[in-house]
């Protein structure tokens, strides 16, 4: 890929918030519905951590619904997962009716998450 040609220049430094927005905007651009965000995140969480988002918050004692309160390792794993999923989604053709598109979005996110889960020591 041509890094300079395809990647938009940004004025600020990229952080977790930027990565997350890129991920959700990509799901939207690919025609995923409101239901696709949660489903895709559920699948990513299951691949990366082997649990649900509720369980992740419960087990870590973090404040539910605010990922900035999760342990740093968990947050960085999500960054990796979202970067991988975003690139995979951008290079995947998503088509069909709404339910089919949602399924393809979720499947694509799950596949890319499965590929990166081995990077994290808790999955060794």
């Amino acid at each position: 890929m041509d890094l300079l040609g395809q990647s938009q220049p940004v004025r600020g430094r990229v952080d977790g918030v930027t990565v997350r927005k890129d991920f959700t905007q990509t799901i939207k651009a690919k025609g995923g519905s409101n239901r696709a965000y949660g489903r895709a995140t559920a699948r990513m969480t299951e691949e990366l951590f082997g649990c649900t988002t509720d369980e992740l918050y419960e087990h870590t004692g973090a404040r539910a619904g605010d990922r900035s309160t999760l342990p740093q390792d968990a947050q960085t794993a999500y960054v990796v997962g979202e970067v991988a999923a975003t690139h995979r989604l951008k290079n995947t053709e998503i088509a069909g009716n709404q339910q089919q598109r949602d399924e393809q979005v979720v499947d694509t996110v799950q596949e890319s998450s499965r590929e990166v889960k081995g990077l994290f020591p808790w999955n060794w």
């Binding site: 959700t24 539910a64 999500y78």
Partner: protein, 165 residues
């Protein structure tokens, strides 16, 4: 020649569409939240047990509102998603006529209100004012709820800080 008007005074969803949507929400909730295997044959019995007579549209409307709210529990890593996506109701959405019922179902869930507060905090922490304007469907919903004397627990200071479109 009589032509069909391009709109209907009854903006509620057609029965067939309601059933399709309830099925997707129901199977999504079981699959992604309960992490169980969906038994399609259980669908009608489940809905009948929880909501009553399947021949009535009102039964399916209740099921739609309830399962729409439950579905928002799925993968809720970031509560602000509720604000700019799930409950960001705009007239082009087919669930728009049901927005208040869906939102009230959400508020009836444990931590429902807490998640809205958390979501608003994140919205004001991580998003620019320009980005926040995209959540105006939610802000309208809150205004309508407040006008009806509801939502005492939501910090309107936050909501009021966003200019109306």
């Amino acid at each position: 020649m009589v032509r069909e008007p391009p709109f209907s005074l009854d903006s509620s969803m057609k029965l067939k569409e309601l059933k399709t949507q309830v099925y997707d929400l129901w199977q999504g909730y079981i699959t992604y939240h309960s992490r169980a295997v969906v038994q399609p044959a259980d669908f009608n019995a489940d809905i009948r047990r929880e909501f009553g007579d399947l021949r009535r549209k009102s039964t399916w409307e209740r099921a739609f509102c309830r399962y729409s709210a439950l579905h928002s529990r799925i993968g809720l890593l970031d509560a602000d998603r509720l604000i700019w996506s799930d409950f960001n109701f705009t007239p082009d959405r087919e669930d728009y006529p049901y927005r208040h019922r869906i939102f009230e179902e959400w508020l009836s869930l444990p931590e429902g209100l807490e998640m809205i507060k958390t979501g608003l905090e994140i919205l004001f922490r991580d998003y620019t004012s320009e980005e926040r304007e995209e959540a105006d469907g939610f802000l309208e919903l809150v205004k309508e709820q407040r006008a009806a004397g509801k939502l005492a627990g939501v910090p309107v200071g936050l909501v009021g800080a966003v200019p109306a479109r």
